[in-house]
Subunit: 282 residues, 2 copies
């Protein structure tokens, strides 16, 4: 049971955590911290939050559980102030889309003051953003990756695992670099490809967009994602993203080679193999 | 009003047309033609078809409206036999995913015997196939492209337009080459990219597939499409697909350049522009 939960950044993810915690009565009090009081107001008005503040130190006072739910570079730059403001004994976690930089910064700060930090990443985003689309059941069935280090104590890791499981998530443990490589492949690469698909089609056949059916729309849905969030993610994870892009380009080139060669039999075998892999994900 | 509709190939598209025609009473009789009697049986059993046959000439006898709904290369190879079997005065159309080759073949045949053929393509596929997923409302709100030539008479084109509109579709007219370029961009390119995404991720981060969330799943849904159908489409439309691929690659390279340069401002502007284009499709 959490005494006082502080949610820093009350958008889709932070707002959904607050709603889920409220719905299940997992915290005595929920405090929302944000830069813009107007954006915090709806979550206060609907009873999801007990208090709101634009001052980080005020928001973190007497909290025993701090969830950082800003875009990933904002989380990184907030960490020193979090370390100054958070009470002894509190558990600090985040929902940032890349983990290596945040975890490294937290480790450096923990060397100065031993605060329990465990990085986290719920795989439950959307091309939509903001508190307006937050949902108490957003994490039901979702994968959440936690990224402890050698210095992480078992107690906070166990508490955080139980927290996400209470929200309906499946928790996986990865080190931060392995996490960043994994999300480069299954999240950052598809986003970049979806953006490029829309841009490429708009360039070569702009009129054809009127004919777009469900295939194109589903494939490019995430190209409507928030540009600020994805600028930060692409830059923060550019190395791992580069490796995933190379693998994608190699796979695309192999299919193109079969098409150019008119090798129907090998092409069908390759597509069938991919279809089987994709169907395994359902 | 159609006297006798012959549907050649009773899968997702042919089956959905038959169901929609039946539901609206647009034809006196519906005959299904296929290679495998076992696959035709369900549509006969549920009352969608009045008769079934594996013999094309038998199926087309006395028909006044013929819908060719096999995969695209099968349609092309069926056309000479269709021309021999179809009654004078019948309207012949198809639902093939590429149009230039089919339309050219039909024109050549029409020079020998004047049968009214108008190429068509309903943009309403699915990664699933077969009569089992056919639906009477599949074409409601879908775009259907018709590809008349200079030789097409106004009467058959008008009749076919009204036919698809009666099924709830929005009809667009394009010449066959323009159609093939358009679908290369908005359908064939995204399919090829989705296949390559699954293959690339399976190569670079196979374990990460367990963490895949809605973004990856939606982006790659169409990579579970039927391999035979897509082998044919990719080969039939390889030239136009090549041009779309070039545009996609250029757009991807431009985004990569901004990421590699760490140019957050320009990257965000580019992503914002793409987001706006994508949102316009909703």
């Amino acid at each position: 049971m959490i005494q006082r939960l502080a949610v820093v950044g009350v958008g889709l993810l932070g707002g959904s955590v607050a709603k889920a915690v409220r719905a299940q009565g997992l915290a005595g009090e929920i405090v929302g911290v944000g830069r813009d009081p107007g954006r915090l107001a709806p979550a206060l008005a609907d009873g999801t939050l007990d208090r709101v503040t634009t001052d980080l130190a005020t928001g973190l006072r007497d909290s025993d559980f701090v969830l950082l739910a800003a875009p990933v570079r904002a989380i990184e730059s907030l960490l020193p102030a979090v370390w100054r403001a958070v009470p002894d004994g509190a558990l600090v976690t985040d929902v940032g889309s890349t983990k290596a930089a945040v975890v490294r910064t937290a480790e450096r700060l923990a060397a100065g003051r031993p605060i329990a930090f465990v990085g986290g990443h719920p795989m439950a985003g959307s091309e939509q953003s903001g508190y307006g689309v937050a949902r108490a059941d957003l994490f039901r069935g979702a994968a959440v990756v936690l990224t402890p280090t050698d210095a992480t104590e078992p107690g906070p890791l166990k508490a955080l695992t139980e927290f996400w499981e209470a929200l309906g998530a499946r928790v996986s443990i990865l080190d931060a670099d392995a996490h960043d490589r994994a999300v480069a492949a299954i999240s950052h690469l598809p986003h970049l490809v979806a953006y490029a698909l829309v841009a490429g089609v708009a360039r070569v056949e702009p009129g054809a967009l009127d004919l777009a059916a469900r295939g194109f729309k589903d494939t490019t849905r995430i190209a409507a994602s928030d540009a600020r969030v994805w600028e930060e993610i692409f830059l923060a994870n550019r190395e791992a993203l580069g490796r995933s892009l190379d693998a994608f380009r190699a796979a695309l080139a192999e299919l193109e080679r079969l098409i150019a060669a008119g090798d129907g039999r090998a092409l069908r075998a390759a597509l069938d193999d991919i279809k089987t892999r994709r169907e395994a994900l359902r």
